[in-house]
């Protein structure tokens, strides 16, 4: 996950996904990927809401490792 992902950006992306699914402009082919991305974004936000500054750093680090 991007290091400089903000709540703002995460929420926007989430809304975008919601909108795409709403208008069914998401093909079945990428649906699972979209939902996965949405779940990651939500998890990111929720974790970050509750994590300490150090923990947030760790989360971001982990996400980056994963995305590699």
């Amino acid at each position: 996950m991007e290091t400089n992902l903000t709540y703002e950006a995460a929420f926007k992306e989430l809304q975008q996904i919601a909108r795409e699914i709403e208008t069914e402009s998401v093909s079945v082919d990428v649906l699972a990927a979209k939902v996965k991305r949405a779940s990651e974004l939500i998890a990111f936000c929720q974790t970050r809401l509750r994590a300490t500054a150090t923990e947030v750093e760790n989360i971001i680090q982990q996400m980056e490792d994963k995305s590699l």
């Binding site: 903000t6 929420f11 989430l14 699914i21 949405a38 779940s39 939500i42 936000c45 809401l49």
Partner: protein
């Protein structure tokens, strides 16, 4: 207290001066005081007046509820005192002051201009005093309001770039900033010891949702008008920290609900209105909002409320997150089931229509199968009947033709016979007719009827012109010729009847 003590200590000295001069020609101070007291009492008993004055040298004894202060009047230009009378308030007056403080949200204290109802009293020991009977809160509110409006006007005039007034209220640069979706990094301006700060931090940390916050303290005295500059300095410190805060919270700790003038100060208003991070206030008052409240991004009544607002703000974000999540899940499941249905519908459609195509084809073929033999038979039948008709025509007609010709021939034969005979008869008749005519007109038949012919010199005479008397003539009659000589000649006048 100390001051009063000072005054009291000077009295034995005065007494000593007068006693030394003339004991007969003096009265005791107490006598004089009694005289003054009597005079004043005579003049002012039952008298009270509403007086406008400034307060100085105020002291308050909460245990007794006593207020000691001076009422002064200053020259508006020189600020020199033009009048000063000590005053007290206790009992009813003290109660009125408490009500006043409650209504105005302003502590009864020095440098405040008030409209007070006073009675004049004199005490032999304590001297001339004004006793406060009542205080008009609306006068003070009006005064404060005037100041506040003046400050606001100044802000509008001098800081037009960050403060604007609209029918809905004041719009500031700070108000127009949008809060981060989540508020986590907070700069807190407060006095370190205040209960409000404790309330705020406790409320934040004890939140039910386990949200974490990172609060940096920027302590400053947040009471007393003079401390506005200190508060402003902390705003500068926050700006200079280089940290990106989600919000700046100004809180003022519990205790007395008065003394809000600091927050109506021009410099603080300006600092708040133009601050690049949204400012949340939790100044801890219930009544009139201060200029700071008016110009800050968000105003709450108390520090606890400010913390709750921040938590609720974050919760709203998390809830919208969860709601989007829920929405995504629901829609996605709908979408998948919709796709499943679409697929099923297509499947059914393809199966049904394939069968339709086949059955239509089978029917079409069956129709051709039925039609072609039927049509061929029908065609042959029609040809046969056409042939029969034609051969019938060909068979019957020639006999009719020959019969008609025979008839025709016999007609013509009859005609020829008939007309040949008729023609012969006609000829016969014509011939007979001519024969008759000629018989009638022959000389022989004329002579028989009595006519006679006259000859002269061998020629028949048809007139008398050639005949003279004496001429010899021959008259031929039917049975003989008679010879005669003409005796005379008479010309006929034509009167004979014409035959």
């Amino acid at each position: 207290m100390e001051f009063n003590n000072g005054r009291l200590s000077r009295q034995p000295f005065l007494l000593y001066l007068y006693a030394g001069l003339d004991t007969q020609h003096y009265i005791t101070l107490s006598q004089l005081a009694a005289t003054i007291q009597g005079t004043i009492r005579n003049a002012f008993t039952g008298y009270s007046a509403w007086v406008v004055a400034d307060i100085t040298s105020h002291s308050f004894y909460p245990a007794k509820g006593y207020h000691y202060f001076d009422l002064v009047e200053k020259d508006t230009r020189s600020h020199q005192l033009t009048a000063k009378i000590s005053a007290t308030a206790w009992g009813n007056g003290s109660m009125r002051i408490r009500e006043f403080e409650s209504v105005t949200g302003q502590r009864f204290s020095n440098d405040m201009q008030v409209l007070v109802k006073v009675a004049v009293e004199y005490h032999p020991v304590y001297g001339l005093k004004l006793s406060l009977l009542d205080i008009d809160p609306s006068f003070t509110i009006g005064m404060l309001e005037q100041q506040k409006q003046a400050t606001l006007q100044r802000l509008l005039t001098e800081c037009g770039d960050i403060v604007r007034k609209t029918p809905e209220g004041y719009i500031t640069f700070n108000k127009q900033l949008s809060l981060s979706p989540v508020i986590q990094r907070i700069a807190v301006i407060s006095s370190a010891s205040s209960a409000g700060y404790q309330d705020f931090m406790h409320t934040l940390e004890a939140n039910a949702y386990r949200y974490t916050f990172h609060a940096d303290n920027y302590f400053a005295a947040v009471q007393g008008e003079a401390n506005a500059a200190q508060v402003c300095a902390q705003f500068d410190a926050i700006a200079a920290s280089g940290k990106s805060y989600d919000t700046v919270v100004i809180i003022r700790g519990g205790g007395a609900q008065t003394d809000l003038l600091l927050f109506d100060q021009y410099i603080l208003g300006k600092a708040v209105a133009g601050f690049p991070v949204p400012v949340i206030t939790g100044i801890g008052h219930l009544k009139n909002e201060t200029i700071t409240d008016m110009l800050a991004h968000t105003a709450t009544k108390t520090p606890t409320r400010a913390a709750e607002l921040i938590i609720a703000h974050n919760r709203t974000f998390e809830e919208s997150l969860l709601s989007v999540q829920k929405h995504i899940i629901i829609r996605m499941q709908q979408m998948l089931s919709g796709r499943q249905q679409q697929l099923a519908a297509l499947h059914a459609g393809i199966v049904n229509h394939s069968r339709d195509i086949l059955s239509v084809s089978v029917e079409g073929l069956a129709r051709c199968r039925q039609m072609i033999p039927q049509g061929a038979r029908h065609l042959l039948l029609k040809q046969r009947s056409a042939m029969a008709q034609l051969s019938g025509q060909v068979l019957v007609k020639p006999g009719q033709v020959t019969a008609a010709r025979i008839q025709e021939l016999s007609h013509i034969k009859k005609d020829i016979q008939l007309y040949a005979r008729k023609l012969m008869q006609q000829q016969q008749q014509q011939l007979q007719h001519h024969e008759t005519v000629i018989k009638i007109m022959s000389p022989q038949s004329l002579l028989q009827k009595g006519f006679a012919m006259v000859y002269h010199n061998g020629a028949i005479m048809t007139g008398s012109s050639q005949l003279q008397a004496g001429d010899k003539i021959t008259v031929r009659m039917t049975d003989a010729d008679v010879h005669a000589t003409i005796n005379s000649k008479t010309i006929n006048d034509g009167n004979e009847p014409n035959i």
